[in-house]
């Protein structure tokens, strides 16, 4: 098996499992999948799910049924940065439609697609609990709130610069 946690990731995995009583290690499945997704390029190939199943000593099907249920797990490859833009009621009445249209235009992709350079993925999501700071989107661990067209431009530029800096 080629996909494996490195030492640091394995330490974190063990810390997650230690939260639950002996024999109840399946409880760590959601946190473990979060870790796996972060560790293996932002998505969960079958191989990653099978690996998590082997670590938790559960059947692969128990992992698949969970991975397909929760919206945060990506079952297909995604770009380096995923723009998860909220489109539910409170964001909609605060102008999220315009923001979504603008991001589509600037990145030249539709919701669910990834830019050709593999940097950005656009994903439309339901309420993220930032209704008072709408319109908003989540990128990785952080929320980008009070979005305007200017802010979207700045954010896209910011992440492009990050990629340049990494290369």
């Amino acid at each position: 098996m080629s996909l494996q946690f490195n030492n640091e990731q394995m330490t974190e995995f063990k810390r997650l499992v230690a939260h639950y009583p002996e024999g109840k290690q399946k409880s760590a499945l959601l946190p473990a999948l979060n870790l796996a997704q972060d560790s293996f390029g932002g998505w969960l190939p079958t191989e990653a799910m099978d690996y998590v199943a082997s670590l938790l000593k559960i059947e692969p099907i128990e992992v698949y049924e969970v991975a397909t249920f929760y919206s945060m797990y990506n079952l297909k490859p995604v770009g380096k940065f995923v723009f998860e833009v909220c489109q539910t009621g409170p964001c909609m009445i605060s102008g999220s439609d315009n923001i979504i249209a603008y991001i589509q235009k600037q990145l030249d992709i539709k919701p669910g697609e990834t830019t050709k350079d593999g940097i950005f993925t656009l994903k439309l999501v339901e309420c993220l609990g930032a209704c008072g700071y709408a319109p908003m989107m989540q990128v990785g661990k952080i929320y980008r709130e009070h979005l305007t067209k200017e802010k979207v431009d700045a954010i896209i530029e910011e992440y492009r610069m990050q990629v340049v800096a990494l290369n």
């Binding site: 009583p21 959601l30 249920f69 539910t88 009621g89 409170p90 909609m92 339901e126 209704c131 008072g132």
Partner: protein, 450 residues
């Protein structure tokens, strides 16, 4: 200024850290509870306080605690519901982000009262940075002897664990949350057995909302009787309201439940009025699942009395002319908003979040979304409104968990109060694509303060 019990210190610089929280009087309630009070006395104070669950259902917290089974040799668990996902609601996030130790103190007292040695905070996966803040606070609290073994020399052990979800509204329902905490899909369980008897890992479990558990701190500090004096009737204490939509000052506000809806919307201390000087059209006062109310029924009840921001007043008139306090997610819509479009986004939300277990909800939420989409796109037929009504009626009450009701109510209320706007969309297919119905049917009766 209304009384503040939870957010009083929210603006103190550094209050997120243990040292500042402690210096500002933090953990004194925990000290009092663990050193001076018996378990029965703590539960009694919470009962006397009249505290009602702040997650949305409003069930008396003390009574919920008293249901927990105590079989010999079986561990019990307290689980903090931080899955906050009801559209319009972002109060728990605020509380955890800025006052993590207040929640931990509430968790410690509550865990002691319930006999939970391992307490879990189930936090929605998207609040990843908030989970980090909580983890840091737990490390600090443990280092200072408030969590861990033999707390304050009482012999009581308690550890708080943060468990991140992965994106599912349904996990806010307590039995779905428990399933998810066990590493499964968030499918709600059939009750009974209730979690208080067989919950997490089939052990007795109490699930309480973040705000409910934080409120235990002031209740222990001031006593249940004093706490109950704040507010009115069965709406005791303070409530966090997350206000959003077309208002000047969206944000999280602590209110004492004696303020009128009108003052809450228009006073500078709270929402600061409708943004851009526009008129108020409608409001969803308690999170997206509660009935939407047009401005005239929001500010005054059907009897013409002032409506207040509390459990009883917001539900005055039942679903015919009233709504609910719910989770405190207060969504304000101005005159330019389209009720059909707004209802469509909520129907889409509930279709997306239905776990798929019960047919009425799994199928019905999809049908409602499709029909609303059709009307919104100018392809609606006059029979569609009755069809929508029929579907929502067949979902409500016919599912294992309340998600079915939550999906049905917004559609029902939108048709009940804004049927003319739906009809206008259907009769003016082309016009509805370029303009909004606006305030047409409220031209006169709408109440707009000077």
């Amino acid at each position: 200024m209304g009384v503040k019990l939870l957010l009083e210190k929210a603006n103190v610089p550094g209050i997120r850290t243990y040292d500042v929280y402690r210096r500002e009087g933090g953990y004194t309630a925990a000290e009092k509870a663990l050193k001076e009070m018996s378990i029965e006395a703590i539960v009694e104070e919470v009962k006397k306080s009249g505290l009602r669950g702040r997650g949305g259902a409003g069930f008396p917290a003390g009574m919920k605690w008293s249901f927990i089974a105590k079989p010999e040799g079986v561990p019990r668990h307290l689980v903090c519901n931080a899955d906050e996902s009801e559209p319009g609601t972002f109060k728990d996030r605020y509380l955890m982000e800025f006052l993590p130790h207040l929640l931990l103190e509430g968790l410690l007292i509550s865990s002691f009262a319930l006999g939970s040695n391992d307490t879990y905070i189930y936090i929605r996966g998207e609040y990843a940075w908030v989970a980090d803040i909580l983890e840091d606070a737990i490390v600090e609290a443990t280092k200072n002897g408030w969590l861990g073994k033999n707390i304050l020399g009482t012999g009581f052990d308690c550890m708080v664990h943060v468990h991140r979800g992965a994106g599912a509204y349904i996990c806010g329902e307590e039995t779905a949350l428990i399933e998810s905490l066990e590493g499964k899909r968030g499918n709600p369980r059939i009750k009974p057995p209730f979690p208080a008897i067989q919950g997490l890992w089939m052990r007795p479990t109490v699930v309480n909302n973040v705000e409910t558990l934080a409120a235990v701190v002031p209740i222990i500090k001031m006593g249940g009787v004093e706490y109950a004096k704040i507010g009115v009737g069965r709406s005791t204490g303070t409530k966090l309201i997350s206000a959003c939509g077309n208002i000047n000052k969206p944000g999280v506000y602590e209110i004492d439940m004696t303020i009128s809806v009108e003052d809450f919307i228009y006073s500078d201390e709270y929402c600061g009025g409708i943004a851009g000087g526009k008129k108020l059209k409608a409001c969803i006062p308690g999170g997206s699942s509660v009935p939407i109310l047009p401005a005239n029924l929001l500010l005054k009840t059907a009897k013409g009395e002032t409506r207040y921001m509390n459990y009883e007043s917001l539900s005055d008139g039942g679903f015919a002319t009233g709504s609910m306090m719910g989770s405190g997610g207060f969504i304000v819509l101005d005159e330019d908003q389209c009720i059909v479009k707004n209802t469509l986004t909520l129907a889409r939300f509930y279709r997306h979040e239905s776990c798929g277990q019960c047919s009425p909800c799994r199928e019905g939420t999809g049908w409602m979304e499709k029909i609303l989409q059709k009307i919104e796109l100018g392809k609606g037929e006059s029979s569609d409104i009755d069809l929508l009504w029929d579907i929502q009626r067949k979902i409500e009450g016919n599912t294992i968990c309340p998600l079915g009701d939550a999906a049905a109510w917004p559609v029902a209320a939108a048709i009940r109060h804004f049927r003319d706007e739906f009809e206008w969309h259907i009769q003016n297919r082309e016009l509805s694509q370029t303009s909004n119905f606006g305030l047409q049917h409220y031209a006169d009766p709408i109440h707009v303060p000077a």
